[in-house]
């Protein structure tokens, strides 16, 4: 039985591994996808080596100090390529035409209003076709404005207090302004020093037997995400090769040969379990070598999880094969299934963490359990005990798929 099973498994593995197209889909595509998503995340989170540059227009109509301070603050942000424009209507047009992701209109009365203690607003015009870029611009602008806002509050506060002093009204305006500026200078210097040594700090400590947390590497999510997604794209291939054997008559030959029926199915499952293991090894090695992705500290847990994932994928393949009438249909339905699992299983977004129906729905996909466990091991050092529910869930899927498949399977 074992010899027959291994022979069938070896034959099926060779069929897949000699198919260059299949190799491209199952090994090259997940690697490219994970890399591109990783680069995108690193760039937008500011941790990437390749800086992104977003074109923005600034129309500063304010003749006071605050408007210029905002412009200077924006120019210091490496993520922004600032172009100044005098006419707000022209700035609006440039954004509308997509020549800039956003425009900032600084009103003419900005400094006057702030000096008078009245709230003033800068308008951000966003290109609806570049919303993600415009949102980054909003974040950077808010950061620049926070500093200026504080200075504005202080200046106003100093003015409000000083103006109550006796004789203030009679003092020459230049002298009053100079006194206020001097006071503000002293306070602002003090504020900068206070920031260096805040009176309230946050101390982070790990309790006993807890590993120190390292910086999050986005690849600990992207690589497992796409590895698991493409492990389930194998479902269609498995079902398709099974039905192709039936169509070509080789399945009957196997049935009439002196080998147990169970060996044929077990051999096929074993072949795809082997291919999933290969996928995992290739992807995780590439992730570790090229993107310094940590692989956790529980190799046994990693192996068991991969085995459970492979069994779930292979048994789903056999199940799909029992529902399809032709190899082509299996191939195409397998692709539909693969895409649905990619989107709902949490490959792009960790949907299993989401509240509500989507979070629950996601738990009904084997992908979510697998991705969560891999991510937990790589990013948070989860152990075998911690991922046991995930392994059991995957095995549960495998048993359920296999049970239905066995009932439906026709050995003919």
């Amino acid at each position: 039985m074992i010899r027959h099973t291994l022979a069938i498994a070896w034959k099926d593995m060779l069929i897949v591994l000699k198919d260059k197209g299949a190799l491209a889909v199952y090994f090259l595509m997940p690697l490219l996808f994970a890399s591109l998503m990783g680069i995108a995340f690193a760039n937008t989170s500011g941790s990437g080596e390749t800086a992104i540059e977003i074109a923005i227009i600034v129309a500063n109509q304010d003749r006071g100090t605050y408007g210029q301070m905002v412009v200077d603050g924006l120019k210091q942000a490496t993520v922004l390529a600032v172009t100044e424009e005098n006419d707000p209507t022209a700035a609006d047009r440039l954004v509308a035409e997509g020549q800039a992701a956003a425009a900032l209109i600084i009103p003419a009365d900005l400094s006057d209003r702030i000096d008078a203690g009245e709230t003033a607003a800068i308008t951000l015009i966003k290109d609806p076709a570049q919303q993600e870029a415009a949102n980054i611009v909003a974040g950077v602008t808010n950061q620049a404005m926070a500093e200026i806002g504080m200075l504005a509050e202080l200046r106003y506060g100093v003015h409000a207090v000083t103006s109550q002093s006796p004789g203030y009204d009679k003092a020459p305006p230049e002298m009053a302004a100079a006194a206020e500026a001097q006071t503000l200078g002293v306070i602002w210097t003090a504020v900068q020093q206070m920031r260096q040594s805040p009176v309230i700090a946050v101390e982070e400590t790990a309790v006993a037997n807890t590993k120190e947390l390292e910086d999050w590497n986005p690849m600990t999510y992207n690589v497992p995400g796409f590895t698991v997604a493409f492990a389930f794209f194998l479902v269609g291939t498995m079902a398709s090769t099974l039905l192709a054997e039936k169509e070509e008559g080789t399945f009957r030959r196997l049935m009439s040969s002196p080998m147990p029926r169970g060996a044929v199915i077990t051999g096929k499952i074993l072949a795809y379990v082997g291919i999933v293991f290969l996928q995992v090894i290739v992807m995780f090695t590439a992730g570790s070598v090229f993107f310094r992705m940590p692989l956790g500290e529980a190799p046994l847990a990693l192996a068991l999880l991969t085995l459970a994932l492979a069994l779930a994928s292979a048994s789903m393949g056999i199940l799909l094969g029992t529902f399809c009438h032709s190899s082509k249909q299996a191939d195409q339905l397998g692709m539909v299934l693969g895409f649905v699992l990619l989107a709902l299983g949490g490959t792009i977004f960790p949907v299993w963490k989401a509240p509500g129906l989507m979070g629950i729905l996601c738990r009904f996909t084997p992908s979510a359990w697998a991705i969560e466990a891999y991510m937990g091991m790589f990013a948070d050092g989860w152990t075998l005990a911690r991922i046991t529910p995930n392994i059991l869930a995957l095995l549960g899927f495998a048993v359920a798929f296999a049970a239905v498949a066995i009932r439906r399977f026709r050995f003919e």
């Binding site: 198919d19 190799l23 491209a24 490219l32 591109l36 990437g48 390749t50 992104i52 609006d92 047009r93 035409e97 997509g98 992701a101 709230t119 003033a120 800068i122 966003k126 076709a129 919303q131 993600e132 870029a133 415009a134 909003a138 808010n142 806002g149 504005a152 106003y156 506060g157 006796p166 306070i187 504020v191 206070m194 040594s197 805040p198 009176v199 309230i200 700090a201 946050v202 982070e204 790990a206 309790v207 037997n209 807890t210 947390l213 390292e214 082509k328 191939d331 195409q332 539909v336 895409f339 709902l344 792009i348 977004f349 960790p350 949907v351 989401a354 509240p355 989507m358 990013a379 948070d380």
Partner: protein, 413 residues
């Protein structure tokens, strides 16, 4: 006429192939729906509030109460009182993942300007993302509170420095400073002196009441799948070659160009139909899962021309693939990989700018980028035919290059 016969034959074969119909129509729709549902769920995820066990060893303290209030002020976390006696054991045992502790005499220390530390402890069950989220909020609130306290203290010191002066010249009295600071801090929480307001360009919203663009890019997926349809032409040519029917067509009394046009026409029509069906389905189905439906703009002719050019470009690409691919693997798997990655760098899947300068430049070398630019210009920016001529020109150029290269490489045998 012969070209039409071949096209009709291929269209009939396509119509009888349910699997192809599923792949070309249901896969894109299913993918867009599933992806947008996941996208919506991920947005909710960002709004999720994280419960943080809090051990307050300075109960009733003015600053500690203020800190707790600030931590719970819509910053994505909600503190929950936790027993100081059990916190270490609960962290170690995994009952709780992390805990924030306010030290004893916290308020008094802060008021006196003595440094004090909040303790963020985590146990083996903690995840990096949770610790990171709480750390950011706690540090932000602590920094703000530190500054406010230190500022008032600093100004009060100025009051002390002028205390020897005659009373009428004592401007910075401690009481006056506290009053001023308190009023400004309170007002700044809801109405900061300097604020940012966002809007869409007037040029776009003028005449478009309630303009609200979708944050989910269904158009990108529609374009990506339209280019994946290039495989239909390539597969059709490959299968005819494999089965020998291509030779039969070659020896029949028809010109070669008729044969080629006949092979291209079905892909062209299918690609157009696919885009129409996918966009229409997105408009109808996306609101059902809480997403904003894609807008179509006000230039139907421009939209039609983009659709026709994308279909033509995809078909020409199919001819090139059919000419270049020698094996089933190349027609299926390899070209799939190439088309998906081209879609990704072209901005159909994620915005191309996030890939950085290098990949962004490469993205401009695929037709997906120009198709998406044209589509967005018409649907989101409300532009018309004249405005998108450069993008249409690029799509036409890609079509010409693909077709010419395909024709030069094509072997009529």
């Amino acid at each position: 006429m012969n070209a039409l016969h071949i096209a009709l034959k291929d269209l009939l074969l396509f119509a009888k192939d349910r699997g192809q119909i599923v792949q070309l129509f249901l896969v894109p729709i299913g993918f867009i729906m599933a992806f947008s549902a996941a996208f919506g769920a991920s947005q909710k995820l960002q709004e999720q509030v994280l419960t943080v066990p809090l051990v307050n060893l300075d109960p009733g303290g003015e600053t500690s109460e203020q800190l707790v209030e600030d931590l719970n002020a819509g910053r994505g976390i909600r503190t929950e009182p936790h027993d100081a006696a059990t916190v270490e054991a609960d962290l170690a045992g995994g009952t709780i993942q992390l805990a924030l502790t306010i030290p004893a005499d916290f308020s008094a220390d802060v008021k006196a300007g003595t440094p004090s530390s909040l303790r963020l402890a985590y146990g083996p069950a903690a995840s990096l993302s949770q610790v990171e989220a709480v750390r950011l909020v706690a540090k932000g609130v602590a920094a703000q509170l530190s500054l406010e306290t230190q500022l008032v203290n600093g100004l009060s010191q100025m009051a002390a420095m002028t205390s020897d002066a005659p009373e009428e010249y004592q401007v910075f009295t401690a009481e006056r400073i506290r009053e001023q600071a308190a009023s400004q801090i309170e007002r700044a929480e809801t109405q900061p002196l300097l604020a940012l307001t966002a809007k869409w360009p007037d040029q776009i919203t003028r005449g478009r009441e309630n303009f609200e663009p979708s944050t989910f890019g269904a158009a990108g997926f529609a374009i990506m799948f339209a280019f994946i349809a290039a495989q239909v032409t390539a597969t059709s040519i490959f299968e005819e070659r494999k089965e020998g029917t291509f030779r039969r067509l070659l020896v029949s009394p028809m010109d070669r160009w008729e044969l080629l046009i006949g092979k291209m026409l079905p892909n062209f029509l299918i690609a157009i139909l696919q885009m129409v069906v996918v966009v229409a389905a997105s408009i109808v189905l996306l609101p059902a899962i809480g997403q904003t439906a894609p807008t179509l703009g006000s230039a139907p002719l421009a939209l039609a021309l983009i659709t026709i050019l994308v279909a033509l470009c995809s078909t020409s690409l199919g001819v090139l693939l059919g000419a270049l691919c020698r094996t089933e693997a190349q027609v299926g798997g390899v070209s799939s990989a190439v088309l998906w990655v081209a879609g990704m760098v072209g901005g159909a899947f994620i915005p191309s700018f996030v890939l950085g300068d290098f990949l962004n430049t490469i993205g401009k070398a695929v037709p997906h980028y120009w198709a998406l630019q044209a589509f967005n210009a018409v649907t989101l920016r409300g532009l018309g035919m004249i405005d998108i001529l450069p993008q249409l020109g690029m799509l036409a150029a890609f079509t010409a290059v693909f077709f010419t290269a395909g024709l030069l490489k094509f072997k009529f045998e």
